[in-house]
Amino acid sequence: MDDADIIVGIDLGTTFSLVAYADESGPHIIRDENGDGRLPSVVAIEPAEDDAPPRITVGWKARQHAVENPRSTIYSIKRLMGRGPADIERERAYLAYQVRPGPRDTIQVELPGGAYTPEEISAFVLQALRERAERHLGRPVRKAVITVPAYFDDAQRQATRVAGQAAGLEVVRIVNEPTAAALAYGIGLREQLAAESATGKQVAAGRVGLSLAGPGRQRQPVDFGAAHTVAVYDLGGGTFDISTLRIEQGVFQVLSTAGDTHLGGDDFDRAIVTLVQREVQEQLGLSIDSPAARQALRNLAENVKIQLSTQPQSRIELDLGQGRTYSRTIRREEFEGLIADLVERTLRLCAQALRDANLAPADIDRVILVGGSTRIPLVRRRVAEYFGREPYTALNPDEVVALGAAVQAAVLSGRHPEMLLLDVTPLSLGIETMGGAVAKLILRNTTIPCRATEMFTTFVDGQTAIKLHVVQGERELAADCRSLGEFELRDLPPMPGGIPKVEVEFLLDANGILNVSARELRSGRQASVQITPHHGLTRAEIERITRESIQFARSDIEAHRRIDLLNQVDFDIRKTRQTLERFGHLLTPQERQEIEREMVALREFADQAQDLDELYRRLTAFGHRTRRLAEIAIREALIAPDDQPPSPSAT
């Protein structure tokens, strides 16, 4: 196969990102050295000394050290993609890193070493995934299918495409996450049926790496061939989508979609963070809201939430120094009370999606759960109650979207002529008319690609340009919708006012991205369309980002792993040294010496390491031995008024 034919599928998530590839045997997740498919969507960017390029760490390492580097560790960047300052007002209070308004209603992340756009931050995550795929496949990867929440608007989709470009990837298709999940579900179903008919019995797991329902569970007369209707309930780290689909003869047709791009697991964590902050304030009179504290509380809340999915209660203990402690037990029912409103909001969106598709809950043959947040028992219970049936839980909710993206990548490279995805546009598209009202041209839930044409004319004699303001959304007034920008039709032939007949074509492509063209019918002349986005990056900015993005082309897998591990060793030792300087006085002298010794030993071993597996083990062991120091750092972070903790070395 030609390298140009390799298209990987990428799930660029709020919390985790994954990359998958489909070969002849089916789609599979590409995992890291430790067998984990997930890459935390966390990026740490630290300025280097002198003029050296900044040090960039992506994934687990960046996540582990987030508390020590609150201002230079970026997480949940997906929530900022394609958004403006006004959109994220509510968000800001929960971010440990700083954001500032950029040009044209964009946001920039402000880091100690400079400002970055959300597209650039996402590109670092995509690049790490790309490298992972290249190591696995042993050849360069230049093309990808990237998934986005179905409810993403034009600006958010464009931003995702730019991020891909900046990571050296041609984004051949933007696919909606729930749709990708349905695709993986369909393939899994087909594999299951094929295996069953071949062996005459049910299989526990398909070759596609999808773990399928065990014997006797959820058996229904449904297969790839028999038409059926499914609902995909996708509750991820930051976004919620519900899509209904008809699966018939290999065609996956989305009937409707609804969602909220700011509703997900992050919000459940925040409910816990807010509770803890309030109680600490009430009980101890302490305000724990520094960037580092936000980061530490986030981690804590996430752990509590995950525990409560499997246990009836979880214990929170915070050592706030000077004998002040905060501790309490949080029971599952209490947590459910905190998030009940958010869960009900998802069900109202389910009702809207069903209404738009002219379906009743009972018309749904299967409810597929996607996204880590669907592990929460309350979510499962309420979804089951709403649809009147137990959801289908045989798929791994973390991996199904990436697997589906890989399937779509295989379709796009021509390997599955029997399959087709027909998606819809989540938002209505319209133009602003006199008085600021919106004239809708394409209604939400219209199958894409789709097209609308509209006739315009001029007002004054000799007028050669017409301006259109294009918006996306359901509201009556343009000001309440999302602006896609001004489209200026230029080079019209000069004629008396009202005479030109300008036909404007609005074409939504299969990515859900708008293309506008215009023609003056009397002269047959094509008008040029100049777009001034009200939002987002200009072409020059996109080019700059793409140019500046560091592109590695590493082929030697061993060499690459060595570089990665050595970087991690550097990073860990540097972090530990910094932490030791700040908080070493809180350890016993023996503990301090022990850590010093460990640092030297690790350094020495790393400098002449031949056995990379052994180096990896030592690195992990080093992490365990410095755990107490890390705990102290977290505690201090919680009580420090700012992210500059009291420095004993200064006194």
């Binding site: 003869q249 379709v411 796009l412 087709l420 690609p449 789709c450």
Partner: protein, 182 residues
């Protein structure tokens, strides 16, 4: 009849311009159609012409994008009985809703009266009255839909028939708006 959009033998695409919605599915321009057949043709043709299967060559990609967009619109219209009647009426030379907004003699007064009654019942929270009105509006919609169907089956017909169909379709819009308000 087959779709004119692609060659079944070699998979080559042809532009969609110049064909009406019925042509795209290889169906005769008639109100009565078998929805299962329409759907079958839609799925087959979509699979054959969709940009996902024609992304390799740029000129094919654009043609496939336009053809797909047109096919999707055609399916949306033909699959919906009322939109189908509307489309067929214009295909046979009837006026569009923009050209002729007239309705039958009692439609406007009736709609206004119903709207007022609805408002009143809502304000005074007369639940049984509301349910009754809801029922009336549903019945009106259904009756008008049957009238549309009845007339559309007789298309192309004469000028009078087409005018009657236009007016029934216009009336249906008023009733549908009322129903949306419920």
């Amino acid at each position: 009849m087959d779709s004119p959009l692609f060659c079944e033998g070699c998979g080559r695409l042809y532009p969609a311009e110049g064909y009406n919605y019925f042509d795209l599915f290889g169906l005769p321009p008639r109100y009565d159609l078998d929805t299962a057949t329409l759907r079958q043709k839609y799925l087959e043709t979509s699979r054959a012409i969709h940009p996902d299967h024609h992304g390799q060559r740029p000129e094919a990609a654009l043609m496939s994008l336009r053809a797909s967009a047109r096919l999707n619109e055609a399916y949306r219209v033909l699959a919906d009985p009322m939109l189908r009647a509307e489309y067929l009426l214009e295909l046979f030379g009837g006026s569009s809703a923009a050209q002729d907004r007239s309705v039958g003699p009692d439609v406007l007064t009736q709609t206004l009266a119903l709207r007022e009654e609805l408002e009143e019942a809502r304000q005074m929270q007369l639940e049984t009255r509301l349910a009754d009105l809801r029922c009336q509006i549903e019945t009106l919609c259904e009756q008008t839909e049957s009238a549309v169907q009845e007339l559309a089956r007789r298309l192309p017909g004469d000028e009078t028939l087409r005018r009657q169909l236009r007016q029934q379709l216009n009336a249906l819009r008023y009733y549908q708006k009322l129903r949306e308000n419920l």
